[in-house]
């Protein structure tokens, strides 16, 4: 009995001691140091994400209280012709932008990956648009694409071609936005590819040269396999980026002409912050989230299968 009491008293003493020990211990500081970011994760990221799911199930407008309406917003999406157009436009943008961007960036990186004079200047020139705000870049191009006397149509006139109304033509507006977006970001992907090319060990080229491989064989059997991880990662990042396009659309076309350049994020922004239809906008946002999630997961899964060399 006495012994029992003794041990329980000892236990509680132990607990206190442990608590005292915890304060100021390595683990205590660990939790303390990560707490701002964990708090931020809960309040600024995870919480809003979960809340978005909830909001997408309500008819929340700016004024008034939210009513739970189940999947009604999602049903509305399936019968909303505008949403169909928006999805299609986003897809067109992505399909137009990604291959051009990746192939051009890869070609430029291969050209610049040599020790010739002047490479630094070219690299800088191609990288400058990356540094520039998308708003400024789009404003300049909107001006250059101006109909009657814009820079581009003036140049075309030199060749006696009557330039079209680029940004007011349903077929050309999206093409113009794609070209402008590709030029904005091609430098970024180029720099990533250049970094990857520099990582390829020289000995591989020497070995393949001794085995009689010519330049094009070296490219297909040495260079390309060695940089596939980077190409793949860049590809996914570019696809995800293309799903989130907004600034250039806002500045250059405002979604027009008609709805011909209205894309997902523009539609979310318009529905939420122009029409204040928060519930419906949240449903569209969730669709965007799912699309991006699928690409991210695809990256994780396929990376192991497709990519030849990975550490």
């Amino acid at each position: 009995m006495e012994a029992n009491l003794n041990t329980s008293a000892q236990l509680s003493l132990e607990k206190k001691r442990r608590r005292k020990k915890f304060i100021g211990s390595e683990a205590f500081y660990g939790y303390l140091f990560v707490s701002p970011m964990v708090l931020g994760f809960l309040v600024v990221m995870l919480g809003p994400l979960l809340y978005s799911f909830y909001m997408s199930l309500t008819d929340w407008q700016l004024l008034g209280d939210p009513n739970f309406i189940g999947l009604e917003n999602y049903q509305r999406l399936t019968s909303d012709p505008e949403f169909g157009t928006v999805l299609k436009n986003t897809l067109i943008f992505s399909v137009g932008l990604v291959p051009v961007n990746i192939i051009l960036a890869l070609m430029l990186a291969l050209l610049l990956h040599r020790n010739l004079p002047g490479m630094g200047i070219f690299r800088t020139a191609i990288f400058i648009p990356v540094m520039t705000s998308i708003v400024v870049w789009s404003i300049i191009w909107k001006y250059m694409f101006a109909t009657d006397e814009g820079f581009i149509n003036q140049i075309l006139r030199v060749f006696s071609i009557e330039g079209p109304a680029w940004l007011y033509d349903p077929k050309l507006a999206m093409a113009a936005v794609i070209v402008v977006s590709a030029m904005k970001n091609v430098g970024l992907n180029m720099v990533l590819f250049l970094a990857a090319l520099q990582q390829v060990p020289r000995t591989l080229y020497e070995a393949s040269y001794l085995d009689g491989a010519n330049k094009s064989k070296q490219f297909w059997y040495v260079t390309l396999p060695m940089i596939t991880p980077t190409v793949f990662l860049t590809l996914i990042l570019t696809v995800i980026g293309s799903m989130k396009v907004f600034g250039q659309i806002y500045v250059m076309t405002g979604g027009g002409p008609g709805n011909h350049t209205k894309v997902l994020v523009y539609y979310i922004w318009e529905t939420a912050f122009k029409l204040f239809d928060f519930g419906y906008a949240s449903a569209i946002a969730i669709i965007l989230f799912i699309i991006i999630l699928v690409f991210t997961l695809a990256q994780w899964v396929l990376r192991k299968r497709w990519v030849f060399h990975e550490q």
Partner: protein, 278 residues
Amino acid sequence: MNNRRKKSFGTKVIFYGVLTLVSLIMIVPFLWMINTSFKDSTKIFTFQWIPDPFRWQNYLDVLEKTPFHLFYFNSIYIAVLVTIGTIFFGSLAGYAFAKLSFRGSSILFLCLLSTMMIPVEVITIPLFLLMRDLGLIDTHIPLIGIPILGPAGVFGVFVMRQFFLLVPKELEEAAKLDGCSYFRIYWSIMLPLAKPAIATLTIFTFLTSWNEFYEPLIYINSKELMTLPLALALFTDEVGTQWELLMSASVMATVPLLIIFFFAQKQFIEGVSMTGGK
């Protein structure tokens, strides 16, 4: 031999030709912007190498018609605060995740990392409502606080953790024996060591914040609180087709950053390629 040299000369011409063409396409918009910014409003669609009349006045007009100095100030101080906050909280958490052992640290880190796939555009609506309830709409707090605690911060944690993992254990063990507290180790040993990683993170965070457009568009209504990209985008609606003013404003918003870039381009490009352009 001679033949081969000729061939290599030909490929060189093509090689430099292609690169020059691509570079020109990238540079011409900026030259056209600078050119137009000095033009008279009646000549904005006339091609002139040197504008005649050459109007500095356009710049003064922009400064008079808009509180441009405020846009500038807002952009700079928001980007500076976001950068400082991201570096401080990011490196603090990055140090803890890399060097301190505590239960659940790897799970917490994975949780943080997983938020990198949450697009800001998806969670903006709840964040907007949260900020509205807190009375923070039309203030700079969402533009500073959300990036630090959200996407920019998480990225900072990631970059800093990767760096601190490479720091040898002996350094901190010596400091521990000398009786240094963990914060002291972080502040006087780890942080000074991390200069390269901090430089990268600074460039990246500053640039992202400086160019951010979506968040200011949503949170800011008052003119005097606007940042440069937002002010420029709305200026487009306001002045309509007064391209010469729009171009002067664009020059003022862009050229300082380009000058900094020119002097520090090695760090910029290496930084961006190191961080994978996330």
